[in-house]
């Protein structure tokens, strides 16, 4: 069974997913960060493939993307960094990125590599659902890779139902109309949106992302969904880290309130 599917079968609450950018702050930090997140108890990790034009991302992640590219990060190199790491870690892995580098790598070749190195799912925000269904679904399935879809406060209920029908694993619930890192905290209006989605009784669990940064926001978000996703706040942690592993461990523990 896919490790993401398995995770959500076993754990229904307080699922913590952490995003970081591959090749940042240093080119070879990718696996150090991955191992530290695994050891410190993150339930899921999302490795960002840096892109020159990340239109859904705010300044913090844009900057991390640019530094990683300047460091020489690429899709090819990411697969080399991840090769052989799977036996040493248990956490399910998602790759997050924009569609163009994946297209240039070749969709089938990309999915094949994901399977080889033990990646479990993809988040490609600019891959439209209809293009996925028509052209790529069969390929993803062949290699056992899940495609994670996003919903936002503006997504219509009809579309949410459709996304739920074609999703596996979980649905990425964007907490507000924004790019990453733009807002922090959770407002009453957002809570109303979370309740509205809960009332739809979807078949897939949801993780709430955007604006989650610490124990308070993680706990609040988790009370409305299976868990939450931290991105920009974690990038700030690795940017300022003196000792990557120790600082990551401390951050994860603090978010989980341990």
């Amino acid at each position: 069974m896919n490790r993401i599917t398995q995770l959500f079968e076993q754990k229904k609450n307080n699922v913590l997913n952490i995003y970081f950018t591959a090749g940042y702050p240093q080119l070879n930090d990718t696996t150090t960060i991955l191992k530290a997140l695994d050891e410190s108890g993150a339930d899921l990790v999302e490795i960002g493939m840096p892109y020159s034009d990340p239109i859904a991302d705010g300044e913090t992640i844009q900057h991390a993307n640019q530094v990683a590219l300047d460091n020489g990060m690429s899709v090819k190199l990411l697969f080399e960094q991840l090769a052989g790491i799977r036996p040493a870690i248990k956490v399910p892995i998602l790759l997050m990125g924009y569609i163009n580098p994946v297209l240039q790598f070749g969709i089938e070749e990309f999915c094949k590599k994901c399977q080889e190195v033990g990646v479990d799912g993809l988040i490609l925000p600019d891959l439209p659902a209809d293009v996925f269904e028509e052209n790529y679904k069969v390929i993803f399935e062949k290699y056992g890779i899940l495609n994670i879809f996003l919903i936002t406060p503006q997504t219509s209920e009809t579309r949410i139902s459709h996304i739920d029908a074609i999703s596996e694993g979980f649905i990425y619930m964007v907490s507000s109309a924004s790019i990453t890192g733009a807002k922090s905290g959770i407002s009453d209006e957002q809570e109303a949106y979370f309740s509205r989605i809960n009332a739809m009784s979807l078949k897939n669990p949801r993780l709430i992302g955007f604006g989650i940064s610490d124990n308070a926001t993680f706990t609040k978000a988790s009370s409305h969904a299976a868990g939450a996703i931290i991105g920009s706040a974690f990038i700030k942690v690795v940017t300022e880290a003196k000792d990557l592993s120790a600082d990551i461990n401390a951050f994860v523990k603090s978010v989980k309130g341990e």
């Binding site: 239109i55 240039q104 600019d126 439209p128 293009v131 919903i151």
Partner: protein
């Protein structure tokens, strides 16, 4: 067999294998709203009447089709210039901004966001926002803000807020990224006026329709002057491709008219400093559509170079990718040097100072090999006032 739809967009938003809407979910409702409404709005007689009246009385259309006698003599053929440089604000860009601003009002939007490179689209957007009482925010690359200072001043005087795009290369592509991010953050009350035939469907088709007035006029004007609607060649420069799309639109299915696209060759296509997308690019996705794109092997978008800020873009609209792919249009890469020379030449021969972008279209005359009995229409997309500093450096 040629069908009427062969070179134009299909019902799914594609031109051949190019186009589509590759957008994050955050933009889906906005783009869907546009897609579901743009045709009915544009085809509404009341909209048409308002659009046509503004084009006539505010922009100054129809723009003249001018027989350039001394230029014709120089190339030993017959050359007409389509004078988009005489549009209010100095370029074709205003045809599109009027159309989109009217559309935005009908969609109930009160704020406009736009990107700009040379500043021409920014000025055209700020202008119509002033005219229609809409709030206006323009993103412009930090580097372009420096090299296009007069247009920055114009936008400010027109009441727009100019925001510097500080990410990436700090030019047009990054201004476009930031305008899209702004739209993601303000999905309900804001309309994004894209300045060229790029972006997710329906933008390329919508912008092409607003610009298609150019070829509509060329047809009847040429008929009046020569007794025939179709020239042998139509030449236009291609940044994103909006003036070219407008100049080609009503000739797309007329095989007797050769379509000619002039891309910015920069220092030369193998120099590493070029914006000649069809010569250097591969199929890929940027700013919401699948098209041809200058990129690394890893799929990272490459920094283009052109002496003309309006052509300094690493992609082209999906319509043009399709025209290239099907060989319906012939593409030339015009160097900075050739464009400058053509700009000085037109100034001296005809008393018209062209925009550096338009000078690329004029330079294509050198390589075209038009015959004495043939007719060429060059789309003069804009005037050169904004480029005087650059021209003077090379005098």
């Amino acid at each position: 067999m040629t069908t009427a739809q062969q070179y134009n967009v299909n019902e799914k938003g594609y031109y051949g294998e190019f186009g589509g809407a590759f957008i994050p979910e955050m933009l889906y409702p906005n783009v869907e709203e546009l897609k579901n409404n743009y045709l009915s709005i544009i085809n509404d007689p009341a909209f048409k009447a308002e659009f046509d009246a503004l084009l006539k009385d505010y922009v100054g259309r129809p723009t003249p089709l001018f027989l350039a006698e001394r230029l014709s003599e120089k190339y030993n053929t017959t050359i007409y210039l389509k004078r988009e440089d005489l549009c209010h604000t100095g370029a074709h860009k205003v045809n599109n901004t009027i159309g989109q601003a009217l559309l935005a009002k009908r969609l109930g939007k009160r704020r406009i966001v736009a990107e700009t490179g040379a500043g021409q689209h920014g000025v055209a957007t700020a202008t119509v926002c002033a005219l229609m009482g809409l709030e206006c925010i323009v993103y412009m690359g930090e580097i372009d803000i420096e090299r296009q200072a007069p247009n920055v001043a114009r936008m400010k005087m027109l009441g727009a807020e100019v925001r510097a795009a500080k990410s990436g290369s700090k030019t047009l592509k990054d201004a476009t990224n930031d305008a899209m991010r702004h739209w993601i953050n303000n999905p309900v009350d804001t309309h994004y006026i894209i300045g060229s035939v790029v972006g997710p469907h329906p933008y390329p088709d919508m912008v092409a329709r607003f610009q298609s007035i150019i070829s509509e006029e060329i047809k009847w004007q040429l008929q009046e002057k020569t007794g025939t609607t179709n020239p042998d060649y139509v030449i236009a420069c291609v940044g994103g491709g909006s003036n070219a799309a407008g100049a080609f639109y009503h000739f797309l299915d007329d095989a007797q008219t050769q379509l000619v696209a002039a891309e910015a060759g920069g220092h030369g296509i193998s120099s590493g400093f070029s914006a000649a997308t069809t010569f250097l690019g591969k199929p890929g996705v940027l700013h919401g559509s699948r098209s041809i794109l200058m990129q690394t092997e890893d799929g990272q978008v490459v920094e283009p170079h052109s002496i003309s800020a309006g052509l300094d873009y690493p992609g082209i609209g999906p319509m043009h990718a399709h025209l290239f792919d099907t060989k319906r249009a012939k593409f030339f890469a015009i160097t900075d040097e050739a464009a400058l020379k053509a700009g000085f030449q037109l100034s001296k021969l005809e008393g018209i100072i062209p925009a550096l972008e338009s000078a690329h279209a004029l330079a294509a005359l050198e390589e075209l090999g038009a015959q004495p009995n043939e007719t060429v229409v060059v789309n003069l997309s804009g005037r050169g006032d904004k480029d005087l500093a650059t021209y003077m450096k090379h005098l």
